[in-house]
């Protein structure tokens, strides 16, 4: 069976294997990849090598891992365990879900019922994996109060800067700020622009903390139960936990597949150049664990222990230890379950697959054949051959000469053969005639 393996690079790396009637495709999006190297450990045939992660974190545009498409077995293990979904895996054009693989990581971000659909989680998500679909805004509602005066006050003690009011009505304006690992609130303050307000009192109802008090006239519009919807894209999600941390209603819960420890070697921190280098901060683009204040710091609440920062730091100041990897095992009694579970072990222990080293390189000597295939040539006439051989055959049939033959009395036998070959030959011919 012919196996063809090919790679096309068009922004995405497409590795294709055609074997018989099946085509398997592994698509690698290197922009999503941060060089954590988990696939390097997981690959059972060591087809993946880690590239220059530090240089890539400092701006080099290059894929952080390099896949040997000829060595690759197209098994899907790298796809299963990539924490950031940098791979996609297709068999005969059908996308394979991680859930259908024999072993896959247990990772999920839940949106619980206590969610009030505010704006906090989607604002802080480093991967933009959360979307907030606004169903209705104030400007969509035509009814307005005319000539009503009033007052809008916000109880600053109750207000948790959830942002629902600001995304509903232009009267409220939130002053945003950068989300940092040590300060995750995306908003600094809430401002009220009463010049636009018609004191319709709708905002009183949408504030989940009842922090807004409006002196005015309620218009007759009935607000729907929910004015916005929150949805979480599990494929984009990096399970960092920012949403869980920021949510004031404990409505977000992230289940991380890996448990571990993040260590910064503080004694050698004088080598760190937090202004010039920033490799760890750049490489941790999915989880935003690292930041600089007075010096380099990290918040391991957001860490998924992928290990990219360890690969990126040029001074080896960071160590990422993994202690557990939670997986779900779907297929119990297929012959490859053991190898997949060992891949998980290798990820935890940070070991590559042990392949047999140093095979013998032997010369296999081909057998030489001389010339072309031989043609059959007749050299001696068959009849002449037959006559001569008949002489021996006849001698053998005579018991006296046979005995001579058996006992090794050569002279007697050879004499008989000669006679048959010459003299007695003619007598036979006469007899035949």
């Amino acid at each position: 069976m012919q196996i063809d393996r090919d790679v096309t690079i068009n922004g995405l790396f497409r590795f294709v294997q055609r074997a018989g009637k099946e085509t398997r495709e592994l698509v690698y999006d290197y922009k999503r990849c941060n060089g954590c190297g988990i696939c390097v450990y997981a690959c059972p045939v060591n087809a993946i090598e880690l590239g220059p992660v530090h240089d890539i974190a400092s701006g080099l545009d290059m894929p952080p891992v390099i896949i040997d498409h000829l060595k690759c077995a197209y098994c899907g293990i790298c796809y299963a365990f990539c924490p950031f979904n940098a791979f996609k895996f297709y068999i005969n054009g059908d996308e394979i879900e991680k859930d259908s693989l024999p072993v896959s990581p247990v990772a999920y971000t839940y949106k619980l019922d206590s969610c009030v659909k505010c704006t906090l989680c989607y604002k802080v998500c480093p991967m933009n994996a959360i979307t907030r679909n606004v169903r209705i805004r104030r400007e969509d509602i035509p009814e307005r109060n005319e000539g009503v005066s009033g007052k809008v006050t916000v109880d600053r003690d109750k207000c948790n800067l959830c942002g629902i009011c600001a995304e509903f009505c232009g009267v409220f304006k939130l002053i945003g700020k950068d989300v940092k690992p040590d300060d995750i609130m995306p908003y600094e303050d809430l401002l009220i622009d009463e010049s636009k307000c018609d004191y319709c009192k709708l905002c009183e109802e949408i504030c989940p903390e009842n922090a807004i008090k409006v002196e005015g006239k309620r218009i007759s519009f009935e607000l729907p139960d929910t004015i916005a919807e929150i949805s979480i894209d599990q494929e984009l999600c990096s399970y960092c936990g920012y949403c869980e941390k920021v949510c004031p209603y404990d409505a977000a819960r992230t289940v991380k597949p890996i448990e571990g420890e993040l260590i910064l070697y503080e004694k050698r921190l004088h080598r760190c150049d937090p202004i010039g280098c920033k490799a760890c901060i750049n490489v941790c683009k999915h989880n935003r664990v690292w930041w600089v204040s007075d010096r380099l710091r990290f918040n391991s609440d957001f860490c998924v222990y992928c290990g990219a920062c360890e690969n990126a730091c040029p001074h080896n100041l960071i160590e990422v230890k993994r202690s557990k990897y939670y997986t779900k095992v779907l297929l119990d009694n297929v012959p490859w379950r053991e190898a997949w579970q060992r891949a998980v072990e290798r990820i935890v222990l940070k070991q590559r697959a042990e392949l047999p080293e140093g095979k013998f390189s032997i010369e296999i000597k081909e057998f030489e054949t001389f010339g072309d295939e031989m043609a059959v040539e007749k050299t001696v006439s068959i009849e002449v051959l037959e006559d001569r051989l008949n002489a021996i055959e006849q001698a053998l049939k005579i018991p006296f000469y046979r005995r001579a033959f058996e006992k090794g009395h050569l002279k007697i036998f050879l004499k008989a053969v000669k006679e048959y070959a010459s003299g007695k030959n003619q007598r036979n011919q006469e007899q035949k005639a």
């Binding site: 074997a19 009637k21 099946e22 098994c75 297929v334 490859w336 190898a339 390189s361 032997i362």
Partner: protein
Amino acid sequence: MRIGVFVCHCGLNIAGVIDIDEVIEYAKNLKDVVHATAIKYVCSDSGQEEIVSAIRDHKLDAIVVAACSPRLHEVTFRRVAMRAGLNPYMVAMANIREQCSWVHRNKPKSATLKAKDLVRMAVARARHSKPLEKRKAMVEKAVLVIGGGVAGIEAALTIANSGVKVYLVEKKPTIGGHMALLNEVFPTNDCSICILAPKMSEAWNHPNIEVITNAEVKEVKGHVGRFKVKIVKHPRYVDTSKCKGCIGDCSSVCSVEVLNEFDYSIGTRKAIYIPIQQSTPLYAIIDWQHCIGCRLCEKACEPGAIDFSQQAEEIELEVGAIIVATGYKPFDARRKPEFGYGVYRNVITSLELERMLSASGPTLGQLLKPSDSKPPKKVAFIQCVGSRDEGTNRYCSRVCCMESLKNAYIIKERYPGVDVAIFYIDVRASGRMYEEFYRRAMDRGVRVIRGGIGQIWESGDSVILRYEDTLEGVVKEEEFDLVVLAIGLEGNTELATKLGISVGEDGFYDVAHPKLRPVETDVRGIFLAGTASGPKDIQDSVASAGLAAAKALQLLFSGEVEFDPYNAYVEEEKCIGCKLCVEVCRFNAAFMEGNKAKIDANACVMCGMCVAACPTNAIDMGFFSDDQIKAEIDALTEEKNADPLILVFSCWYCSYAAIDLAGTMKLGYEPNIRVIRTLCSGRVDVEWIIRALKRGVDGVIVSGCRLGECHFKFGNLKAKERIETLQKALESIGINPERVKTIWHSAGEAREIAEDFNEFVERIKQLAIEDELKKRRQSNAD
């Protein structure tokens, strides 16, 4: 009852220590003894005839033979009784040699008193003996051979050619064992697989042999004549009805490459593979530990033989006999780190060299250095790696000297320019044509140097050996390109607990008698063949396999097997239906019928645990009956001929053998010891111990096999529990629990058991002094 007593002189073995006449006089005065005489050698023809005549002349109902150990001659005297028309189970023996004269040589008076005690006990036993008949059972006409190496194949063929069905179970996916992987065999230098392959093929195609590969023995129940064996057959993930054995379509596309255990890890294979080119059966197999599920093999296989849905299969077999031919495992050279195996690439083992030299190996027969795949110029062999060594194995592995000489000869033959040196301690070339082969190798130019290697270190690609040439008395250093370690053989004893056979201290299975019964184990019906019972070369393996086959056929030939009539039975009138025996029996032999217990004679293994457990003494067993043993205890305590008097209940298998061995080795221990034997320490009824203590015995020892090695698997564990409970009970009523002790020994631990006896006697003496002191203090206080 008319009892005859025959005391043996055994030349001077007994007579030299014990006063035979005194014993005879004493015996004559015992109740029911109508004839007592001494004989020079009771076991001799004339001695035996004398007994036969005496039985007839004096119309004896039972006889007592006071002589050597029943382990040696009980069967002899039973046959004598049968010749005289007496039931063979009416013979009682008193062991006054191994357990008396040989161990108490420096105390002849005490020895004579002990002999009198033992004779008195034997007479009491004989008084309560009952005639018994051997039980016969049908024998399943099939044999299980575990292990498909050269010994297993030979045994299977021998048995199958006699018309008996054989199941040949092999753990690996192909039969052939280690021999199929060797290059050439000594001393003929025949190509190993060439001579084995026809036999492998014959075994596979034989109508009477069912070869089950990739399978292991999971459980063995039952007894000789009817073993019930459960085999688990692991899945190959290849449909054998479709696989054509093409050796290549599937493995050439497999993405995973691993070290090949069939090349002893010097070569590689894929995760789907055919083990060797001559694999029998010739089917591929998927290594479930390394397959990653890329499924390329499934697509590449044209007949569509790959089947990932295969499950493990359980097969149940019923066989009359089992032959264990599980072979050896090679010594792991990493355990001798001084030789650098696993660290230096050019240090390999002898088996790896065999694969290299083999035409079907990873180098196609070329001798190459693993470091750079170039031919070596200087090769060194180091002998006795992992053998004859205090740190690893003490025994000699027998085959390595000849193997190295043979390999050295072959290297010299194929590569005349290569310098070969063998570093040895002794060259053991003890078979036929072996010494001549040694000469031929030396004539070919193989250097042999007597000396141990002190140190090995790397120098570039080569390796430097530092050794002492003991014949010259000089320490030298020499550089070599390739070093071959002649590794030893080690035992492979995972089946020991499943089969209930014992393992020797060298790690190989133990045989019943190393000289006269080299293929039988202590379990009737289970035989050993090949290197399972110790290191040996191929011809000895084949010979032992033939013997094992003959012994198995011997059992099966008559169609029925005889059992000693020691099985337990229930006296229904006494049974109160408490079900305790059913709970205690670990062999499912005791069951309830209505509200009375019953015992299945075929399932009963005769351990006696149930007999000892029954509260109403409703269960009894033949020849080791309650009455007989109680009579022995009573007889012993009629007179107190030793102070302190120690009673030992000894199990027949390990313990009695060890006590006998102490006699054979002429070790000495105190003559206060009196032994009563049972089949298993689990038979010991706690009521007997109490009876003994009541009647004046000062200390009781219950002696059995080493824990975990009981012949009946669980007997000694039960005995341990019982005695521990008894000890606590004794303590609670104010009797020192130290007076009852348990000791566990294997049949070879003679020294340990003698020491235990002496320690116990000392301790009891000490206790007597302590008790005396306590009494005096109390009376002073009053």
